[in-house]
Structure formats: C-alpha cells, structure tokens
Symmetry: C2
Subunit: 499 residues, 2 copies
C-alpha cells in the first residue's frame, strides 16, 4: 500500500483537475454575462452543462470516496484534513440525490429561469407559477434526502450558510425588524429630511469609471489580479485568487449605482483576492459562505463608502469628476443625500435601513412555502401584504413585486437570509474592528491598508478553513448578535435625521 | 452488434465532447490574449494544458480508433465520411509521435516562446539559439515519423497547407519573386511616387472604432455572432461558427493599422461565420487551411479595402471621422498614398507588393534549416543578406531581423508559406469572381452581399470538406497559378506609379 504522502499527492492531483474544470466553467460564465455575442449562447450552454457534469462526476466518484476514506482520519495536514471534510460533505450531499432527479432538476432550473424572465417582462405570474411549484417540490425532496433536525428549511439554509438554522433566524429577524420599523417610523416623521434632488446631474460614464477605479485602487483591489467590466447586473466572480473580476453598471443620471455598486463588488473581490495562497487548488480557496461574503461587500459599501469619513477625504476627488454644480454643494448635504432612507419596491435599490426588511419578507415566504404552510399561488398577494406591512408601500405590479428577483427561478431557496445575515456580520465585525483600530480616522485618511489587512487576517485568509459562525465567534468573541447592526443604524440615522 | 445509425450517433457524441473541450480552450486563449489580468496567466496555462491533453487523449483514444475502423468504409453519409477521414489523419499523425516526446515538445514550445520574447526585447539572438536548435531537431524528428515522399519539409508543410509540396513552392516562388523584384525596381525608379505624408494626423481611437465597425457591418460581419476587441497583436478566433471574434489595434497617429487590420481580420471571420451549419460539432467546421484562410483575409483587405472602388464610396464616410485636413485631400491622392510601396524591415508592416518577398526569405531559410543545409547559428547573417538581396535594405538589429516573428519560437515550421500562398489564391479567386460578377461596380456601390455570398458559396460553406487545392481547382478550374497575383499587382501599381 502507498504511504500517506503518496496518497495525499494523488488526492491533490484529483483536486487540481477539479479546479481546472471549475476555472473553465467560471470563465465561461463570466464571458456569458459580459462578452458573449447573442448567437453564441446556445452552444455555450452545452459547454457549461458538459463541464458541470464532469465536476459532478468527479465529486461523486469512487476515486473521490477512496481518498476520503483513506485520508479522513490519517492525514496530519490541517489543510488536507479540512479539504477532505469539504469533499466528503459534497460527496455525501450529492450522492443522496438520485442521478435522474439531479438531471431533471438541472433542466428545470435552466428552463425556469427563462420562463421567469418572460413572466417578469410580461408581468404574468401565472406563467411562472407551475415552474415555481415544481422547484419548491424538488427542494422539499432534496431537503428530505439531505436530512435536518428541526425544520425542513434548515437543510436548504445549510447550502448557503452552514450552521445557521431556522430557529436562529426566527429569533433574530423579528427583533431586528422591530427595531428597524420603529427607526423607520421616526425617520418618516422627521422634519429634517435630506434632499436627494441635490444629487441629480449628468455624469458621463467615462468620468464615473475613472473615479471608481481610483476608489478601487485606494481600497487595495489588485488590478493585476482582476479587472472591471460593465454589465446590466453587477457581480464579482473569482476564476481563482489571482483572477477575481468585478463588473458594474453606469447610470449617467445617478452616480450612486456605479460608485456604491463598485465598492460593494470590490468588497467581494478583496475577500477572494486575499485568501491564503496555501489553499490554492483546493475547494477551500473561496469565501466560506454567502453571508460572510456579503458581510465583506456590505462592510466596504456602507461602513466605509457611505461613511462621512470616507467623503471627508474623497469628496474633493469626486467633485473633480462630477457636474459643476457639485462645487457649490456642501459636503454635509451631499453626505446626507446619499444616505436618504426611503421605502422602495425593489430590493437591490433599497437603502441601508430598509434593505433587511425586504429580505425578511422573502425569508418568511420561502420558509412557509418549503414547510407547505402556503402555496405558490398565494405568493403574489402575500408578498404585497407584507410589503405594505413592513415598508408601507404596495407594488402596483408583480413585476415590481414577487417577480423581481431571479433567485427562486434558479431554485435558490435558503439564499436570501444570507443578505441580512451579512449585514449583521458586517456590523459585528465593524464593532470589533473599532476596538483595535481607529477605523474612522483611517477611513478619513484613505489609509485602507490597515482596514483591509485586518479583514484579511481575521476573515479573508481562511477561505473555507473556518465555517461562518466559527469566524464570527473567533473574531468577535461572541455569537451572532444583531444589536450591533441595530445600534449602528440607530446612531447613524439619528444624526442624519436629527432624531 | 449495433446498426450503423447507432454507431454514427455514438461517434457524434464523441465529436461533441471534443468540440466542448475545443470551445473551452479557445475561449481560454481568447481571454488570455484580450482580457486576463497579469497574475491570472500562470494558473490559466495549467487550464489550457490540461484541456489540451484531454483533446489529445480523445483524438488518439481506442474509442476513436473503434469508430474510425467501423465507419471508414461503411458510412453512407458524406459528412460523416469526411469527418472520419479527418479524425483518422489526426489519429495517425498523433499516434506516430511517442507520448514522452510530445510532452517534452509542448514544454519546449512554451518555454521557447518566453525566451524568444526576452531575446527579442534584448536583441540577443544567442539567448534564443539553443532553443531554436532543439525546436528544429524536434520538427525534423516528427517529420520523419510522419513521413514524406520527396522533401522532409513536405511533412511540415502538410500541417498547414495539405497537398502543397516543397517542389511546388520551389517552382512558384522564384517566378513570383522575379516578377515582383522587377516591378519593385520600376517602382523605385518611378518619378511619380505617392506622398504618404498626406495621411498623417491625429485619429482619436473612438472615431477609428466607429468607422471600422461601419465597414465591418457593410462587409456583412455579423455582430450577433461575434465581437470586436482591442489587442496589441490583432487576430480572429472562432469559438464556433456562431461566436467568431476579432481584435484590432488603434494607432492614433496612423489609421491604416486599424482600418486595414480590421478588414483583414473581418475577412478571416466571414470565412468562419459562413461555414455550413451542417458541419457543426465536427472537426470540419473550420477553415480548411492557413493558406485558404489567408486568401479570405487578404481578399477583403487588399482586393476590396485597398481598391479604388472601395474608397469611391467610403471616402466621404472616412472623412467624417478623420481630421479636418482630409476634407481638402483629393480622393486620388488619398488612394495612392494608402497604396504606397516601400521596402521595410517588418513583415507585418509590409505593403501589398513587398509582403511576399518577406515570406520567401523565411521559406528559404526554414526549408534549408529542416534539410540541415544551414545551421541555426547562420540565421542572423543569412537573414540580413537575403533582406538586402530581395528588398534592398538591411536590418540594423536582429530584433528588426531574424527575431521579429513569433512563429519559429512555437515550432511552427511550414507555416510561413501559407501567407504567400494565400495571396496567390486570393488573386486567382478574384480573377474567377470577375468573370461572374462586376466586382468593382459592386464594391463601388457597397453591395458586398453578392461578393460575400460568392465566397460563401464557393469557399466558406465547405469548411474542411474540401482540401485547399481542391477548392482552388473547383472554383477556378485550374491549378494554382501565380500569374494572377503578378498580373494584378502589375496592373495596379502601373497605374498608381505611372509605369
């Protein structure tokens, strides 16, 4: 029998093969979302399908099982041990789903996405309804294959935020909701509202691009290991830690889309660029969960980019790219305007405060769906009711309501909570960081190196070596605590709105 | 045993798999040449290497051999028959090279290319010499494995221009050279030379881009099945017939680089975009040879783009994008200036007439190298001697001499002749086309559809269904005849230079 080093070497070769396929798939997806000509899409979908099948085959192969069994209890190497554990979990979860059902589901996903697009464009929920019903039922089936202790929805949450349970969310979300609603009420009644019309103007795309590139460079986004492109729906994507790409959207009437969007995607990218090189060519070389990822993007977007200190140092630079009337606009008014709170219909356009309320609506609905407490046909009116209840506004169409987000059309149930968790994580990290660093002073002086290094040292470097809640506790020395988010928002908006 | 339809179906599945890998590799290469950040290159090279190995394995697999043997004499389907033949040739040629030697050679290639780059940058041929010696020796070895009838160089020519032999080139090239030299002499002595300084000016990149896109659209390049990007070294690349991408370079001091370069790459792209859909997912769905490919790019670049008729209709459009002083420049002077003949050191900057002379120098040298008639260390001074002999100028450095082209550093011996063959093919096609269509009238009226359709009908659609010389004879009803090129150039330049 081979010795352990030889087996580890062979195992690493299998992992490298997997990473090659993953990089090819990721490049293919990046290209499909940024550059591909219309007629190239059909054949390209076959490429993605074929390569994804290869990954799936390798992940669930006998060869993989052989390495898992041999190395699980015998390796001395911490990285190998955690890699084996990760591979084992993927192996077990994927093996539990019968091949036929998996293939049917993949086909359903890709069909549902295009049906959803049509349904949204034509504002016709009933077109999407049968597909969504099937997607829910597959997710229920898969959840039962995977198993769960308490709530069936836990099995789905696990895909995006392992360790987080429905019970935890049911405790935390209502608390946060209550505080945010009360804060929102006060804000709505404030007689001292910022004036967002001062931000109106024409911002040529090129100027926005030049400015956002300067900001990305300040943040420490490494353009030798990444690039910035333009897309309708901005995203960050890691081919590997040396090639982490972001995209943004330029609205020539509103600079906020590109400026805050780019900082947000830049935050995701910093996470992937700063994972330890030791994890290269393992499945650990990526962000540990959707929630921790979102904590990084939101940290940069809001705790840095929407911070007064950030504009203390960058407003002059911004003015040099902005229309002339910004020369006359005092920083204070500018800062208050970019932090306006206003309930709105579309999640991705929501402000810092109401964003989490949007998420809670989706969480409550999908949890009830998966638990068979409501049916898909109830969704449109339940959505609208909750919007009125939580945000005080009612979508005039399903297009601006239940049909707005892509997630469910891809069968991604259990994903939405990560967005709100990410916010809470970010606030909790921010609080700990402030005990170690003069965060606002550093921001005010554009000394982002210390901030980025802190995040790298405490979060980025580990990739998937640590689970999300493990990171929270290691870094902040306590469990998930939503008070930090509530306190942060209360302090911030009390000042802005003179509450 | 399966029936023949089932076997053909299984064979097609294997071919689809190959095409998936090829598309992934091609996308990866496109990305590496256009978009990849610097630090992404290293890991990406592993992706290319791994996927290329997969292709090589499939091409030389027992499974492939099984299909070849079963289908070779039994299929009734013309496309399947030619596909099997193509697969058999790839199988046979690749199987003749021992696996070890193939791997060593691939590593040598990639190392040599970076050494060549360094050697060129530092003008240091001796750095590159040992690598080139090894590359020559591998190519001699491979040529002997593949076999040849007359001259060892034939075995290499076959990789790029199957059917063309050293004997043919040794007959044709000297004839052409003699005629071109005599024409060049007359041009050098002409007292009626065009004035290229009239073309000088500042051409903002955006204007050049807008103009060249308009020209591409006129040519019928389909942007729904392609895209245009910017690179230092322009190229055309087909991911499949529905995704054929081109790149160009913008020189803000000289519009000719982008305008004629884009038309050239557009010509390559039209070939790939217009291959019959019946050939999709087979190895026949690409241009049949380097020479026929070059005939298409040169046809559009020179026979269309440098034609007086083209500027009769497009000069006004050009003027609307060009600096103001072009409003005062008469079309006649403009046309003569873009057709200036002037011996120069760098092949890719050569004019229409002297270009082929550059090719002949490379051909004679590499043929002698492969035949062991000269040694690698002789190259620099032999190169310079020939430059003086054929073009009347001597490179002051090896950088502008023997080190200028990338081909040899990749082991591509036998490639260069395709460039000159492409010219001759283009002229021969052009002559036949003129017997069917009023080519210049069509060009003058920007009615490129008929021209493009003629090329598609006679050349593009077949992909690799026809061999290069088969196409020449089918279309022009005669064998390769260099007189058409000589006559075309003589007529054209006699008018421009008043000879």
């Amino acid at each position: 029998m081979d010795n352990i080093e030889q087996i580890e070497k062979d195992f690493k070769e299998l992992l490298s093969e997997l990473e090659v396929y993953r990089e090819a798939i990721t490049l293919t997806q990046w290209d499909m979302r940024t550059k591909i000509p219309k007629n190239g899409v059909e054949q390209r979908s076959e490429v993605v399908g074929f390569l994804s099948e290869k990954v799936h085959q390798l992940e669930t192969s006998e060869k993989m099982k052989y390495f898992i069994d041999l190395l699980k209890d015998s390796t001395q190497d911490e990285i190998v041990r955690k890699t084996v554990k990760e591979c084992e979990e993927i192996y077990e979860r994927n093996r539990k789903i019968p091949n036929d059902e998996f293939k049917e589901y993949v086909m359903l996903q890709s069909k549902s996405e295009s049906i959803w697009q049509e349904a949204r464009e034509t504002d016709n929920f009933s077109l999407f309804q049968p597909y969504l019903e099937e997607l829910v039922s597959y997710n229920q089936k898969f959840a039962s294959y995977w198993g769960y202790e308490d709530n069936i929805y836990d099995a789905l949450l696990h895909n995006y935020e392992p360790g987080v349970t429905t019970a935890m969310l049911d405790k935390v979300f209502p608390e946060v909701r209550k505080s945010l609603s009360s804060l929102l009420n006060k804000i709505n009644q404030s007689s001292n509202k910022p004036d967002p019309t001062v931000l109106v103007g024409h911002f040529p795309k090129k100027d926005q691009e030049d400015f956002t590139i300067k900001i990305l460079e300040q943040m420490g986004y490494d353009f030798s290991s990444g690039r910035l492109d333009e897309t309708v729906h901005p995203f960050a994507i890691a081919l590997n830690m040396n090639d982490v790409r972001i995209t943004t959207r330029y609205d020539e009437k509103d600079f906020r889309t590109a400026v805050f969007g780019t900082i947000h995607e830049g935050g995701h990218a910093l996470y992937e660029q700063n994972i330890s090189k030791k994890l290269v060519n393992t499945p650990l070389a990526t962000g540990t969960s959707m929630g921790i990822h979102e904590s990084q993007s939101l940290f940069w977007e809001n705790f840095v980019g929407r911070n007064k200190a950030f504009w203390d140092s960058n407003y002059e630079l911004f003015q040099s790219y902005a229309p002339k009337h910004f020369q006359q606009l005092p920083l204070g008014e500018f800062y208050r305007a970019v932090n306006e709170v206003k309930p709105s219909l579309i999640r991705i356009e929501a402000d810092e405060l109401t964003y989490s309320l949007h998420i809670m609506i989706r969480y409550e609905l999908e949890k009830a769906l998966i638990n068979d407490e409501i049916s898909v046909s109830d969704l449109p009116h339940l959505w609208n009711e909750k919007m009125e209840d939580y945000l005080g506004i009612k979508p005039p169409t399903d297009r601006e309501g239940v049909l707005q987000d892509i997630h469910w059309s891809g069968g991604d149930f259990g994903y939405f909570p990560s967005y709100a968790l990410g916010y809470m994580y970010a606030a909790q990290f921010h609080n700990t960081m402030k005990t170690k660093l003069n965060v606002d002073d550093l921001i005010r002086n554009n000394q982002f190196d210390q901030i980025r290094n802190w995040l790298t040292e405490n979060i980025h470097q580990y990739g998937k070596m640590k689970k999300p809640l493990e990171i929270i506790e290691d870094v902040t020395k306590e469990k998930l605590n939503p008070d930090y988010l509530v306190n942060y928002l209360t302090n911030k908006y009390s000042k802005i709105y003179n509450l």
